[in-house]
């Protein structure tokens, strides 16, 4: 238990060195160095060290790599924000601080993780309401129509809705898993339960289709839907759900493709970006140029031209990493996500309670899918979609939500080991 504490502090210190190194690498060649921003950097490092010290007074067994991994990715993100948009650096640093506070709060709330299952309908309904509000009232900022403006505050409720819906699904599915597994009806070759039991899945499918149509947001639609389906599979162990759901999704997407020109445009750009490289596929082509120009070792921070790419500091931040830090940087980032996903599933498998097993597994799937969809999008592996790269992209909602996610995993991992 003492070992965990030391490991965590050691890794946090390493992340701190990476942040300071990144800060200096960006600030010195451009003469951007200022004691104000430098002290902010130092304060952040102090803050995350403090976070560790505080939570380790009550948590002795929790996974010691989760917080350092999150802080490492956030450091890379912060360095890139300083490089790409120095004007947003202080704000992003504040979001990171807010994320650390959210991490502590989440860890405390989820200390008795099983108790959360009691509030599953509250979570589920809040999540769906947040999504519906976003669909109905979403404002377009920087190409993503998923912002809600409440006076001075601009938030992306969808970032939090994801987590609420995963809590709901974990609780709901762990209670009903026997029904899902055994109470079946036959529809031709497919074996599915009574529609009553899969109503929430149908509802989520309807909402994701609405996101696709109203918000033009293929990525979020895929993310929600994929997570729902895979969690259902985890609970039931039945492939039938996956086949059925993929059928629904592809039917829906195909209909959208033929009915809505904007979906067609996205797909056409993906299939052949070189048909209109200076027009519709400008962004993705510039992203590919950035990645290719970076090569193995990159141009070095501040020596590339990532600002040619529109929206580089949010959705396309991965391309900027590829250009200035090269494959070495992009591979480090992807491998860090792989580690986070690995730790999430390790926690899930070590857990004794179906609810926490499904919750940790669901969070792992969510992270993997989100990273896959956005990085796949900016590298033309998948059609381009507007979702954020967790912990790295600029933005408060995404940052805070990601730290909540890490906090949930942290709390679950504590509970699993103490048994």
């Amino acid at each position: 238990m003492r070992q965990n504490k030391i490991t965590e502090l050691g890794l946090l210190l390493l992340s701190g060195l990476i942040l300071i190194n990144g800060y200096l690498a960006v600030a010195l060649p451009n003469h951007h160095f200022s004691y104000q921003t430098f002290s902010i950097t130092v304060i952040l490092i102090a803050l995350w060290t403090l976070t560790s010290v505080v939570i380790r007074r009550r948590f002795f067994y929790a996974d010691p790599v989760l917080l350092p991994l999150a802080v490492f990715l956030a450091s890379i993100g912060l360095t890139l924000i300083l490089r790409l948009r120095p004007d947003l650096f202080i704000q992003q640093a504040m979001w990171l601080a807010a994320g650390l506070i959210a991490f502590i709060v989440t860890v405390v709330i989820f200390r008795q993780t099983e108790d959360i299952a009691k509030y599953k309908y509250l979570c589920g309904i809040t999540g769906i309401v947040l999504l519906l509000v976003t669909i109905a009232l979403g404002v377009d900022i920087g190409g993503n129509k998923n912002w809600i403006i409440l006076g001075p505050v601009r938030v992306q409720p969808a970032e939090f809705a994801k987590l609420l819906i995963i809590i709901f699904l974990a609780a709901y599915l762990s209670e009903r898993r026997q029904l899902l597994t055994y109470a079946t009806r036959h529809y031709g070759p497919l074996t599915l339960p009574h529609p009553r039991f899969i109503a929430p899945l149908i509802a989520l499918w309807a909402i994701t289709m609405a996101m696709l149509i109203v918000q033009r947001d293929l990525g979020s639609a895929l993310l929600y839907f994929g997570t729902t389906v895979i969690m259902t599979y985890m609970a039931s162990g039945k492939w039938g759900y996956v086949v059925f759901a993929l059928g629904l999704f592809f039917t829906g997407s195909a209909v959208c493709y033929y009915l809505f020109p904007h979906v067609q445009v996205r797909i056409d750009i993906w299939l052949n970006p070189w048909a209109d490289p200076s027009g519709r596929s400008y962004q993705i082509v510039q992203s590919l140029f950035a990645l290719g120009s970076g090569g193995l070792l990159g141009s070095g921070l501040t020596f590339g031209y990532p600002n040619i790419i529109p929206e580089v500091h949010t959705d396309f931040i991965f391309a900027a990493i590829g250009e200035e830090l090269g494959l070495v940087g992009t591979a480090a980032v992807i491998m860090t996500y792989i580690l986070i996903v690995y730790r999430a599933f390790r926690t899930a498998l070590a857990s004794q309670v179906p609810f926490t097993m499904l919750l940790a597994g669901g969070l792992g799937v969510l992270t993997a899918l989100q990273v896959f969809i956005i990085i796949g999008g900016v590298t033309k592996f998948l059609p381009l979609t507007g979702i954020t790269l967790p912990l790295i992209s600029y933005g408060g909602s995404s940052m805070v939500a990601s730290f909540i996610l890490m906090g949930m995993l942290f709390a679950i991992s504590e509970a699993t080991v103490t048994q």
């Binding site: 985890m234 990645l291 120009s293 040619i308 992807i334 792989i338």
Partner: protein, 470 residues
């Protein structure tokens, strides 16, 4: 152990599978990123639409292009926050050096050697951030083999004619001058582009390497070498015209009958009847092989962007067309560069050197990055036959059609040509080399629609040789 454990085992199993699937997804993604950043890297980094090269170039002083003596042909000057390219010789080197315009791209040496000139090709570029330690803020200097004074002489000698001149060293293949008229001023491209890109006389075309012309009688030097090699050298009899088949008659200029003559005399007076006869005696396959030996069927890779020469399909030629090919007419089309190389072959003991324009490339600190070593391209004939042809070419200038190219005190070898073409008056040709006993320069001159080679092209060649041998 209670009975809840069994379904939990099932969940654990499916979570395990999903975990593997999730990690596999991200590993797949990582592999794809590796593919993009390593295997597609060069294609993407140097893609013409990728602005990075141009952006970097604007902050780097592009290297100079100079002639062999260091005369600056192209340089970058800093004005209004960025570098601009200037060409001190205006139109003189436009086809060799090319242009460098943000709007119309790059051509010539500016295009082919862009990597060196912009400094982008330097090996330390691969070192990522570390490369910043070595970064040079100026590109490399490209030194050409051309001689600015000789280029000037060649350009002026063409006068207001359309045409081209190639002067090269037969021993090394170095291009000493390559002029093409009309030309254009690369300094004023932005204002003149519409005119020069659409003008009927195609000033953008480098006639020296990309102009395709029927060679006319200058090809006879090659046919004569083939006749010697194949022993088709009996005495010929010329009565002014030559009837081939039922309906084709090959005629001499002005129907002059040359009477009885040997190969040397036939070349000196450029007897069409003799060479038509030789082509027929050699036959289709030997004629085709001869063009092949002299490289006309191959494209050269190197500094100079050339047009592919056009040969007839020998297996399908009728006798009349075969005889026409023997005197350089018919569907045969060649570039002046290849004709200069043909003359060089006889000047250089039957060895055809690979022509080159870039002598060397030096880094800003003077380090030699690359130097061109003369390289044999083809060996179409041996030194004995080459010597015989060279002697015949001397007699062309001493007593035949090429006397206008003769220099006092220096023996010149040459061959004239007057190539009929569908675009008007004949093209005037001269190829040759000098001094005949120890050739320093070989030359090809073509003047479009200007008439007789002996009267128009030979005097132009003389002026240029005079400058070259000074």
């Amino acid at each position: 152990m209670n009975k809840l454990d069994i379904p939990q085992k099932a969940i654990r199993r499916s979570i395990y599978k999903v975990g593997l699937f999730s990690i596999a997804l991200l590993v797949l993604l990582l592999s794809y990123v590796i593919y993009i950043q390593i295997f597609e890297s060069d294609m993407l980094a140097f893609h013409p639409l990728n602005r990075r090269t141009a952006e970097t170039a604007r902050t780097v002083q592009r290297g100079q292009i100079t002639d062999k003596r260091g005369e600056v042909l192209a340089l970058s000057k800093f004005s209004q926050k960025e570098y601009r390219r200037e060409f001190p010789y205006d139109a003189l080197f436009a086809h060799i050096v090319g242009y460098d315009s943000p709007k119309y791209g790059k051509t010539g040496i500016e295009g082919t050697y862009d990597g060196y000139l912009s400094g982008q090709i330097n090996p330390e570029k691969r070192l990522g951030a570390i490369s910043q330690l070595f970064t040079v803020r100026s590109g490399n200097t490209v030194v050409l083999s051309v001689d600015a004074q000789l280029q000037q002489a060649a350009y002026q000698a063409l006068g207001n004619h359309r045409g081209a001149v190639v002067v090269m060293s037969p021993k090394s293949g170095a291009i000493l001058a390559m002029a093409s008229r009309p030309s254009f001023d690369p300094n004023t491209l932005n204002t003149t582009w519409d005119n020069i890109s659409q003008a009927a006389n195609s000033p953008l075309l480098n006639r020296a390497a990309q102009g395709l012309y029927p060679p006319g009688s200058i090809i006879k030097v090659m046919v004569a070498e083939t006749a010697l090699a194949e022993h088709v050298t009996n005495e010929f009899n010329c009565n002014g015209s030559f009837k081939i088949g039922p309906d084709y008659i090959l005629t001499e200029v002005n129907n002059t009958a040359h009477g009885k003559l040997d190969l040397q005399h036939a070349l000196a007076v450029s007897c069409n009847v003799t060479f038509g006869q030789i082509a027929l005696n050699l036959g289709r396959s030997k004629m085709a092989k001869s063009f092949e030996r002299y490289g006309f069927t191959q494209q050269m890779k190197g500094d100079i962007l050339e047009s592919a020469n056009k040969l007839p399909d020998f297996s399908r030629l009728n006798d009349g067309d075969l005889a026409q090919t023997g005197i350089g007419q018919g569907s045969l089309l060649v570039t002046p560069l290849r004709m200069a190389m043909l003359a060089s072959t006889f000047a250089n003991k039957g060895i055809m050197m690979k022509p080159y324009l870039v002598q060397k490339i030096t880094a800003p600190d003077g380090t030699l990055l690359r130097e061109t070593k003369p390289d044999v391209w083809l060996s179409p004939t041996d030194s004995k036959l080459a010597g015989q042809i060279a002697d015949m070419m001397v007699s062309v200038v001493e007593e035949g059609t090429g006397t206008a190219a003769a220099l006092r005190g220096i023996q010149v070898a040459g061959k004239t040509g007057t190539a009929e073409n569908p675009h008007g008056d004949s093209h005037a040709w001269f190829i040759g080399f000098a001094p005949a006993e120890d050739p320093q320069v070989a030359i090809a001159v073509v003047v479009e629609n200007a008439g007789s080679g002996g009267r128009v092209a030979a005097p132009i060649a003389r002026q240029i040789l005079l400058q070259a041998l000074r």
